[in-house]
């Protein structure tokens, strides 16, 4: 073999190119099999009987008539699944089927497996449940009042309070004392839900005491743990496969009753069992955005430099714990990642109410405080007569610094995204006229939570790459929920191996076949699974290069990997050669966030991330001064992506985030009346349609993060965040009134205009913040500003 010396240039074959997603054709042609498409021989269908009461003791459940029905194969009640579980180890307060008490309309009490859905439904109706209604807890105010009768849960407290936190970093009172100007505001963010196109669906099959669950879940690993616990099986006897998801947005992050019920029913009947939720059940399953009441007080100097900030929140958690303690802490964690806040106090609370449980939704716990913070800063700027952009720029955090609450910030493109979004939108040159406005806001988001949800020593993501006669396969627990995780894995492996993404076979989200990845939440997949896949694929590449170098008689550095060739060999020949040389080709990689990216105080687990993405939005709209109707014309969104591994996928996420943000800003509300969801259908729950979706101009800024794979950061959640306050700001620009409550509906706009016409405060929003039994402050010394940060 003659060695031809060609200069080795870095291959940038696929990273950074706007390639279609690997599963695009299957999705567009309908070939992809979602969870509900799964059909197994002899399959039974499950329906859950749900509580019609918001809060009631379950006196008795009589299933005799249901069991006697033709076509009914098995009926379960809470007695069959008594083990409590919950996503967070500190609040395992759920039961798959409740047999003692129900805490919201929709809380499951029994499960039926029958030959078809109609029979299962009829059997549910034949189950006699005797309830003893208890006082409902309908709002934050109700939950903070002394309970009328028994509280929803017998843990936590006082009363219906679930969790409390009080943290202080630096000397806040001294900061306020030095301030030239101090301002206080109160805000409310109504709850809303994820609205994925796909309803949840799960199918289980059992044999020999082993059970497999196919489910539309974002987190197969956490479901795996919960199933083993509730079913009383060793983890090795349970396998969870995440089916391709028709959207998740956080709504498929918890282990759910229907997933547990079908497994138990499959074990009991020996037949496969499927449960697909109806759209109405999805609204009751919820785990969506927490309704959140917020109060913020900020002290600034004359130039608008922030000297101290005090932020309070109360979250309406609904009936169960879910991710609640984290959701609550997130309402206080990320304010300092965009603005330098030298002294910061956060007091947070989450309460239980007898409504569908809230949980994580895109942006988890941060859209609410981001809306409050940005609008609050606009108001401060207005009072000081400083341009709101200038005021923000004066406070932007610098790259490679540490925040007052100990979060390590690395790459940070705040100034660049601000420049770019202002340039593109012409914000500074806008012409002021009644009824037309533009608004600006910024935000940041995590690239994966720094800590796992439960304490463990696992790497956060693990990947195995194999190569052989069957081609290249990547095995990874990461789950594609529509965000493009599969394409990302294929692109990373292809990049390292000199292939195209389509040449990579993927086995993902399968707890029986893939090493653990913690799941698709907290925007962690590209950063963490991407790094794990990169490490694994780079190791494989090394083996191929070594084998070829040896055969060609030159050094590995001289072997070029690109265009499906390794040196002078075709990829398949190189694989055969390396297999001969090293045996089975299987390499692995893993990722664990570095130590020391957060603090050491109680509550410090929420907020740290190996990197933060940054987004800036300008929204342009018309707001009708007579009807209060809002028509958004255009949104400019500049996003610090670190590096776009796939520009097309990144733009898709930005546009999706903008769409969801506008829906939350303008119309979406999961509201209740006497415990019933008011709008439990896609016709009545208003979100944006094509007609309302404005033009979006996406601007990507690449700051190349030192630790992200190829410099990449997240995009799945961040771009939603600034859209909401930018809408509120634009409405103010158009009409001169503040709507301090999301969603900004026409009647709220009119009420703000009326308030102004009557000479009152030109705003609509909550008037006061309730008395919350926050605990004594935990004082945390801020990091030493002088010390090196990395």
């Amino acid at each position: 073999m003659t060695a031809v010396d060609t200069p080795v240039v870095p291959w940038t074959g696929v990273v950074g190119r706007p390639l279609p997603r690997v599963e695009a054709a299957a999705k567009v042609t309908g070939a992809i099999a979602y969870a509900d498409d799964l059909q197994l021989p002899g399959m039974l269908f499950c329906k859950l009987l749900r509580s019609p009461h918001p809060h009631a003791r379950v006196v008795s459940v009589d299933t005799t008539a249901a069991r006697a029905m033709r076509g009914v194969v098995a009926v379960l009640t809470g007695h069959d699944l008594p083990t409590k579980y919950g996503i967070m180890p500190t609040c395992e307060d759920e039961q798959a089927l409740e047999h003692e008490k129900v805490r919201f309309v929709g809380d499951p009490v029994a499960a039926v497996a029958a030959v078809d859905e109609e029979t299962a439904l009829a059997a549910c109706r034949a189950i006699q449940v005797e309830y003893q209604p208890l006082a409902a807890v309908e709002s934050i105010e109700d939950a903070l009042a002394p309970p009328d009768g028994e509280p929803l849960h017998d843990y936590a407290g006082p009363g219906n309070v679930h969790r409390l936190a009080a943290l202080e970093f630096g000397d806040v009172e001294a900061g306020f004392a030095r301030a030239d100007h101090v301002r206080e505001d109160v805000f409310f963010f109504e709850g809303n839900t994820h609205l994925p196109m796909e309803q949840h669906s799960a199918t289980a099959q059992a044999s020999d005491g082993q059970v497999t669950l196919w489910s539309s879940t974002q987190n197969p690993h956490y479901v795996h743990r919960a199933l083993a616990k509730v079913l009383g099986l060793p983890m090795g006897s349970v396998r969870v496969v995440a089916a391709p998801l028709g959207g998740g947005f956080g709504g498929k992050c918890d282990p759910f009753s229907h997933e547990i019920a079908v497994c138990k029913l499959a074990l009991v009947t020996g037949r496969p069992v499927k449960c697909t939720l109806t759209r109405e059940e999805v609204f009751y399953t919820h785990r969506g955005r927490h309704p959140t009441l917020m109060w913020v007080r900020t002290g600034v100097d004359r130039e608008g430099h922030i000297l101290a900030m005090h932020f309070r929140s109360v979250l309406d958690g609904g009936a169960y714990g879910s991710y609640g303690p984290a959701s609550m802490l997130y309402t206080g964690a990320l304010q300092p990642t965009t603005y330098r806040i030298p002294a910061y106090r956060f007091e947070g609370a989450r309460v239980f109410t007898s409504k569908a449980p809230c949980g994580p939704k895109r942006g988890h716990g941060t859209p609410q405080p981001r809306f409050a913070l940005e609008v609050h800063l606009d108001k401060i700027a207005e009072e000081l007569g400083i341009d709101p952009v200038t005021l923000r720029r004066r406070n932007y955090v610098e790259p490679f610094t540490r925040t007052v609450n100990w979060l390590r910030v690395t790459s940070c493109g705040l100034q660049q995204i601000t420049d770019r979004v202002l340039d593109a939108s012409g914000y500074a040159r806008r012409r002021r006229r009644l009824g037309h406005g533009m608004g600006f806001a910024v935000s940041s988001y995590m690239c994966g939570a720094g800590l796992s949800i439960y304490w463990n020593t696992l790497p956060h993501s693990q990947c195995v790459v194999t190569a052989g006669r069957g081609g290249v396969t990547v095995f990874c627990g990461a789950t594609d929920i529509g965000q493009g995780s599969d394409s990302m894995l294929a692109t990373v492996a292809a990049e390292e191996l000199g292939l195209q993404p389509g040449a990579i076979r993927l086995v993902t989200g399968d707890t029986g076949l893939t090493p653990v990845d913690l799941g698709s939440y907290s925007s962690r997949v590209t950063f963490m699974a991407g790094n794990a896949a990169r490490e694994a694929a780079a190791k494989l590449r090394q083996l191929l290069v070594e084998a070829v170098a040896e055969a060609e008689g030159r050094s590995p550095e001289q072997v070029q990997v690109r265009d499906a060739r390794i040196g002078s060999l075709g990829f398949e020949e190189a694989v055969a050669l390396a297999e001969e040389r090293f045996g089975t080709l299987a390499t692995h990689g893993s990722y664990t966030p570095p130590a020391g990216i957060g603090g050491r105080y109680k509550g410090a687990g929420v907020g740290p991330s190996p990197a933060y993405s940054y987004s800036a939005a300008v929204v342009e709209l018309d707001a009708d001064p007579v009807t209060g109707e809002i028509d958004v014309h255009k949104v400019w969104l500049a996003h610090d992506i670190g590096r776009a591994i796939n520009e097309l996928a990144v733009r898709g996420q930005v546009e999706g985030g903008v769409c969801m943000g506008l829906g939350e800003a303008l119309m979406e509300a999961q509201a209740y009346r006497h415990g019933l969801v008011k709008q439990p259908s896609m016709l009545d729950y208003k979100s944006l349609t094509f007609l309302e979706m404005p033009d979006v101009e996406t601007i990507l800024v690449e700051t190349v993060d030192p630790e992200g794979p190829y410099g990449a950061k997240e995009v799945g959640q961040g771009p939603l965040l600034p859209v909401i306050p930018a809408v509120v700001s634009a409405v103010h620009d158009a009409l001169g009134v503040w709507v301090d409550e999301v969603p900004v509906t026409p009647d709220k706009v009119l009420r703000a205009l009326e308030a102004r016409a009557r000479g009152r405060d030109a705003r609509y929003g909550p008037k006061s913040f309730p008395v919350v039994p926050y605990p004594p402050l935990v004082k945390v010394a801020p990091p030493d500003a002088a010390a090196p940060t990395l």
């Binding site: 119309m667 509201a671 208003k686 026409p746 009119l750």
Partner: protein, 288 residues
């Protein structure tokens, strides 16, 4: 569930006479939603879409007869000059899919206070042509609605058509909702001006248990226009008159608070819609 698909009107009437409890289905855009939510479980469905005659319209002199099976899409395409108010309202219904399926007869059959065809039908004093195996009758649209989602049809009766006068002047319709597409009106308002008859017609949706007219507003506006000889002169309308008309229109309503909006917002919006539709219609009249 039994599914019957008569191919002629007489057959349909005979089926309905024999099975008055049978549920009629046209476009199905209301019926299928109800079945899906299990709000009703009829033992028998009678499909009207195979009756070709039901989906036609004719003109007889100055009277336009629109078959109950005519869809919104066809009203928009074919009747925008003959029945402009109805065509404008049809454009605001649902989405393209709903406009392709949904029919004017189905809208009347559902008799929702928010039905978008109803205000323009009220404003043009339409007549609902009703038939059964026993015979036919004509019901003025105003008398057609008897309560929220209730109408005058006897169990064996079907809607054959609606008749409206061919438009003699400008007609307008406007609605407000939480978004632009796929939305049930928070409130809506229709206006029809008839320069030949010197008449003003109005229709209000979603602001009372049934769609209603703002009779006092009609009377006052028609009176003022006649008194000032405005049908002849087409001068700009006096602001006070427009405001007065808007106020009377809002006062005609009896709105409630519900998931889509508050009563106060509805009343406010109604005045705005009345004012806007009148200005649009009057400018059109001045131009022509």
């Amino acid at each position: 569930m039994e599914f019957l698909a008569p191919t002629s009107w007489d057959e349909a009437l005979a089926v309905k006479a024999e099975h008055p409890e049978a549920e009629v289905i046209a476009g199905g855009t209301d019926v299928m939603v109800d079945l899906n939510f299990d709000r009703r479980r009829p033992a028998m469905l009678v499909d009207l879409t195979r009756i070709a005659d039901l989906a036609t319209w004719q003109i007889d002199g100055s009277v336009l007869t629109i078959g109950a099976g005519v869809t919104y899409a066809r009203i928009i395409d074919e009747l925008s000059t003959l029945a402009p108010g109805l065509a404008i309202a049809s454009r605001t219904v649902g989405s393209p899919q709903i406009r392709n399926r949904g029919t004017i007869g189905g809208n009347l059959g559902s008799a929702s206070p928010a039905g978008d065809a109803h205000p323009p039908l009220l404003a043009t004093k339409a007549t609902v042509e009703v038939a059964s195996a026993r015979g036919s009758r004509s019901v003025p649209v105003e008398k057609f609605f008897t309560g929220a989602k209730r109408h005058v049809l006897a169990p064996d009766e079907l809607i054959a058509a609606v008749t409206v006068p061919v438009a003699a002047g400008p007609q307008q319709f406007a609605k407000v909702g939480t978004r632009n597409a796929m939305v049930i009106a928070v409130t809506s308002f229709a206006l029809a001006l008839d320069p030949h008859a010197h008449a003003v017609g109005t229709g209000i949706g979603s602001a009372a248990p049934t769609p209603i007219r703002a009779e006092e507003a009609e009377r006052v506006l028609a009176g003022e226009l006649a008194a000032a000889d405005q049908w002849e002169h087409r001068r700009p309308l006096d602001d006070h008159l427009v405001d007065h008309f808007a106020r009377l229109s809002a006062e005609a309503a009896a709105p409630i608070d519900d998931v889509r909006g508050t009563a106060a917002y509805r009343r406010h919006a109604l005045a705005v819609l009345a004012r806007r539709t009148l200005s649009w219609a009057w400018s059109e009249y001045q131009r022509n």
